[in-house]
Every structure is written in C-alpha cells, then in structure tokens.
C-alpha cells in the first residue's frame, strides 16, 4: 500500500517536457497571430504584431532550450514530480474547487461556499455535523455581512437569497 502511494504519477522530467512543449505552443500561437496582424514596419510605424512577434520568438527559443536540456537530464528522469499520495491530496482539493466555482454561478457564492467549506471539514477534518454546519454557515454569514452590508459589493447570489428577499 505504502509502496503504491510513493509511486510517482509522473517524473519531473516528463512534466518538464510537457510544460516546455505547452509553453512552446503558446509562443507559436503568439507568433502566428502577430504575423497575421502584421509584425513589420507599416506606413505609420510598427504594426500591431511587431512587439508580440519577438515575445513569441523568445518564448519558443527559451522553452526549446529547456526542452532539450531536460531530455538529457538523468537526475530529473528519476525524480518524482508528484507521488501518488500527494497527487491524490491535490486532486481532492482541486476537483471540489472546480465544482465550487461552477456552483457559484448556479446557486450563488454564499450557498456554494457553505457547501464547499462543509465538504472539506467533513472529508478532510472529519468534524461532527454540528460544528461543520456551524462553521460553514457562520463563515458565509460573516462574508455576507462584510461584502453586501458593509462594503456594499454585490456578489453573485442564487435562488436562496432571492427566496429570502436578500438581493
């Protein structure tokens, strides 16, 4: 079990190569769009793509060098970028965060935050329901008072708030 947990999901070299390739792609996109807009000297001065063109060129050059350096790096080939256990932890944070952000749009930020905090307290902290609900609801109420009442900054609200007549 622990052996399995220590196993790397990917080596540092693999990720180094992937990231360098992705950044290279970004550089290529920048170059492409700059050329489309005109990266030369126009009648009235430098064209819109003049500056970004060189920016894209530098991205490609730097990441290509990083890529080829990483290819021959034996140390990084053996090093884990992230172990299975640690990656699991990160996913347990990341996936709920994505769900949370999607929920904000659907049911408003206050209800979504309450659910989000409660989820973590139950799952990571294993708190009893009573304290979980108290903290999660409490935090959201404090934020509501802080932003809607005190700072008068409207945040996204959903059906609950309109049912309560708070928006």
């Amino acid at each position: 079990m622990s052996d399995n947990n220590e196993r790397p999901v990917a080596t540092t070299r693999t990720l180094e190569l992937v990231v360098a390739a992705l950044l290279f792609l970004i550089g290529a996109v920048v170059i492409y769009d700059s050329v489309r807009l005109g990266a030369r000297w126009g009648d009235d001065g430098p064209q819109a793509g003049y500056f970004p063109f060189y920016v894209g060129l530098l991205i490609c050059a730097a990441t290509a060098a990083v890529f080829f350096r990483a290819l021959s790096d034996k140390m990084k080939a053996a090093k884990a970028f992230v172990t299975r256990a640690a990656f699991g932890q990160v996913l347990w944070m990341l996936v709920p965060s994505i769900v949370y952000v999607v929920l904000i749009k659907a049911i408003g930020i206050y209800v979504a935050s309450t659910i989000f905090i409660a989820f973590f307290m139950r799952r990571l902290g294993r708190y009893p329901w009573a304290s979980t609900v108290a903290v999660a609801v409490g935090v959201s109420v404090v934020f509501f008072l802080l932003f809607e009442v005190w700072f008068k900054v409207p945040l996204p609200k959903g059906p609950l708030e309109s049912w309560l007549g708070l928006d």
């Binding site: 991205i59 952000v101 973590f120 307290m121």
Partner: protein
C-alpha cells in the same frame, strides 16, 4: 532641505484619525495574511484592492501598503515558531530562528526578527525619502528610449539574478508579456490574440493572475507537502524584549550590511527573497560566530529579516519614481495607482505631492504601528496558525474566489483564477519563477508603448537605444545583466584554465 518640509506636510496628511485607523487595520490584516498559507503580500493586496476603489487614493494606498508591511512582519512568526516560512523571504529566517525557538528562546528570536525588520524598513524609508525626489527629478528628462531602457534593465536584472534558471526566467517573463498583449491594441485598434473570445477583449487582468498563481497555487503546494503545525509556544514579555534589545546593538554592523544589501536588491528588482539569502550568507561569512550559524544564532535572524524588510520597502522607490515596481507586491500597488487614476513616474512627485508624501510618511508610521502590533499580539497570530488546515484551506479559496470576482464582477475571472492556480502550482514545482511573469504582465503595455514610441522617433532604427550616453549606458548595463549567466560560465572557464 526641501524633503523635510514635504515630509512634515506628508505627516499632516497621514495623521488623520481615519488614516491611522486604516493603518492599524492594514497592519493587522497584513500580519494575518503573512501568517496564513496561500495568502501573501501580493495576492492579499490584490484581493483587497477592489474594496478600496471607493476610498480616497491616499487613504487606500496607506491601507494597502500597511498590509504589505504587516505581511513582511508576519512571515517571521511562522518561520520561527513552526519552521514554515509564511512568505518566501522568510525562508532564511528559519535557519536560525527555528533552532532558537526549539531552545525555548522563541521570544528572543521573534523580538530580534521584528526589531530588525523594523530597522531594515526604517533605513529603506529614509533612503526613499531622500533618494526618490532626486531619482524623480532626474527621470523628468527621460524620453521613450530612456524609459524603455529602464524596463529593459528591470527585466534583464531578473535574468541576471536568477540562479541557474535563466532560460526559465526568460520563458516565464515572456509569457507575461504575451498575456499582457492579449486584447485590444490601443494604438492600432486591432484585436490581438483574442481568437474571437469576447471575454478576452479587455485582456488578462494581472490581479486575477496574482490571486490564482500565488493564492490557489500556494494552497495546492501546501496541501501536497502535508501540513502539521507543531510549534514552539510564543510568549513575548517586556523582560524578553528588553533583554533582546540590549543584545541587538552588538549586531549593528550586520544590520547595516544587511540593510545595504536589502535596499540595493529592492531598488534593482532582485526582490526580498534573494536579499534575505544574500544577507544571511554575508553575515555568516563576516561574523566571528559564523560557523555557529544554523544552530540558533540571534545574528542569523537579524541579517535576513533586516534585508528582507529593507528590500520589500525600497521596492516602492522605483515604483513611485519610475513606474517600475521592484517586487510583485509593488507591482500590484502600481496597478492600484493606475486604477485610481494616478500615473506613477517622475511626474507623480510634481503633480501629486500630497499623495506621495502622505504615502512616505505613512511608511514611517505604518512600520512603527507594525512593530507594536506584532510585539504585543504574537500569541494571537500564532493561534490563527492552529486553526486546522481543513477549515482554513477552503476559506482561503472562498476568499480568493470573492477577490477574483470583485475585480470586474465577472464569473469568467473566477474560472481564469483556477486556471492560473493550476499553472502556478505546476510552474512553481518546475522552478519557473513567477515574479517576472507578474511584472511583465503589469508592465507589458507600458514597456511596449515606450518601445513603439522610441522606434517611431528613430524610424525603426534600434541604435536609438545607444544614441546618448545615458540611454546607451542603461542599455549596455541591461545587456551585461542579461548575459551575466553566460559571462559567469565564461569567467569560470577562463579561471579554470
């Protein structure tokens, strides 16, 4: 001395009850931000920036800069008590601070850290007070080529100071420039890199990038490392403070050296983090107790803390006088100035005297307030760290989401924040420095317009950057810094043979 007069006037501006209250609120918030994982100076200020849009600019910057001072102080608390640097610049503080805490001398270490932070900041503020009017006056003669040379110098300094990761520094910086270019080009009116997405018309907001890269990315990193807060207890009483203060003057030379290192690294955008390491290294070499460093020497706490605070503070000098921030937090503050309708740069000292000197005066007051707050409230701040991670982590993500949303009241920004968060996590793990990316994102448009104007003057001839002694000197220096990693390799080879 004209500066003294202006400064006294500045104190009159800063010393209103409202501003004093904001200072205190800012410092307390700042320390909390500095103590919590995932929140730091840069993204703390970025999250709170939208809330200050309605305030008068002087009050707003006073509060935000005090958050910055507070965050600088706060980083030391976690380093000494928990061996977890709350901020990157407090990593060097853990070397001797944590062993001191383990020996039961946490109070001494904290007092030494806070006091040297204060001394470093004070020296940096004095430098700002007297040097910035001179720099601003000097910069009044700058034209577009000179300004571009300053930007070039800033960015090349990043490359020159990056240790062995010059290529990644360049890559991350250029990605920042590319992100800055997205959106409507104000000169030609054409759309760049938007590919038909209307959300991208306005371009990427650096506040979103900062909140995502530093906030969400940091939380993911912390989570992966697994957090267990087992710390020394924090008690500071008057006796400990007195005793430490009697001991501290012994290290005056270390303080002075560290302040010099810090001020230099802050003004040339090296930043607080390398400054703290350099100061620690220098102190270790020159101290008579050098070989005992790392076992819990007070001097080993004094050196990095003085330098980090001096660098963090003096990073505001180029931000105010030239419009070139020396650190990510200074970059966020610069973004704030632009939003409030103030144009940072030499003219600021002529046209917005109240604002500039109010801010400088508030730096003196804010740091005094900071010292008092941290010395008296350490147990309180340490208690915050004992809140379990399973509560604090989701709350911080909620705060980041709210912060991202309030920038433009747009959900798209919240999605973007998550994307930047994942990017920040991966890039940080692969040693891509994030500060150059943020700085390039903030300065991209200004650097590009300086470049374009210079090119227009010279009709596309690059030699304009060498046309006069001043601009030529700056460009040459920039190029030397840019190729410094290569030059070093060359020198080593020559010496080796």
């Amino acid at each position: 001395m004209e500066e003294i007069g202006s400064l006294i006037h500045g104190f009159a501006v800063a010393l209103t009850p409202f501003n004093l209250m904001l200072m205190l609120v800012g410092v307390v918030l700042g320390v909390i931000i500095g103590v919590l994982p995932g929140l730091g100076g840069a993204n703390g200020v970025a999250i709170l920036l939208p809330l200050t849009f309605t305030m008068p600019p002087t009050s707003a910057i006073i509060m935000l800069s005090c958050i910055y001072w507070g965050a600088l102080f706060g980083g030391a608390i976690t380093s000494i008590l928990f061996n977890i640097p709350g901020e990157p610049w407090s990593v060097a503080t853990t070397f001797d601070g944590y062993p001191l805490g383990q020996k039961g001398r946490a109070g001494t270490a904290l007092t030494a850290a806070f006091t040297s932070s204060f001394v470093g900041a004070l020296i940096a503020v004095i430098v700002i007070t007297f040097l910035s009017p001179i720099v601003a006056n000097f910069a009044l003669q700058f034209g577009p080529p000179e300004f571009f040379a300053v930007y070039l110098l800033t960015f090349c300094a990043f490359v020159g100071m990056s240790k062995g990761q010059a290529l990644k520094t360049i890559a991350s910086m250029m990605v920042g420039f590319a992100l800055a270019a997205v959106g409507l080009d104000t000169v030609t009116g054409s759309l760049r890199l938007t590919f038909g997405f209307t959300e991208l018309l306005q371009g990427f907001d650096f506040l979103i990038a900062v909140i995502g890269l530093f906030g969400i990315g940091e939380i993911l990193l912390t989570l992966e490392e697994g957090l267990a807060f087992k710390g020394a207890s924090a008690k500071i009483n008057l006796a400990v403070v007195k005793q430490t203060w009697q001991e501290l003057p012994r290290y005056w030379l270390t303080s002075l050296r560290s302040s010099a290192v810090g001020c230099f690294m802050g003004i040339v955008p090296g930043g607080a983090t390398p400054a703290s390491f350099m100061a620690y290294g220098v102190a270790k070499r020159f101290s008579p107790d050098g070989e005992k460093f790392g076992t819990g020497q007070v001097e080993g706490v004094v050196a990095p803390e003085t330098a980090a605070h001096a660098a963090g503070t003096s990073a505001l000098l180029p931000m105010l006088t030239l419009g070139v921030p020396g650190s990510p937090t200074a970059a966020v503050l610069l973004g704030g100035l632009l939003i409030w309708g103030l144009q940072p740069g030499p003219l600021l000292f002529q046209e917005q005297k109240e604002f500039v000197w109010g801010l400088i005066a508030s730096m003196y007051l804010g740091n005094i307030a900071g010292l008092i707050v941290v010395l008296t409230c350490v147990p309180l701040f340490a208690a915050i760290l004992r809140i379990p991670f399973s509560i604090i982590a989701p709350v911080i993500i909620v705060i980041c989401a709210i912060g991202a949303y309030t920038v433009h009241n747009s959900m798209f920004d919240v999605y973007l924040m998550l994307v930047f968060g994942v990017a920040g996590y991966v890039l940080r793990k692969l040693d891509y420095p994030l500060a150059p990316l943020v700085l390039a994102l903030v300065l991209g448009d200004r650097a590009e317009s300086a470049f374009r104007q210079a090119m227009l003057i010279s009709q596309g001839n690059v030699s304009i950057f060498f046309s006069k002694a001043l601009v030529g000197g700056m460009t040459t220096l920039a190029l030397v810094l840019l190729f410094w990693p290569l030059i070093q390799i060359g020198l080593r080879k020559v010496k080796g043979v």
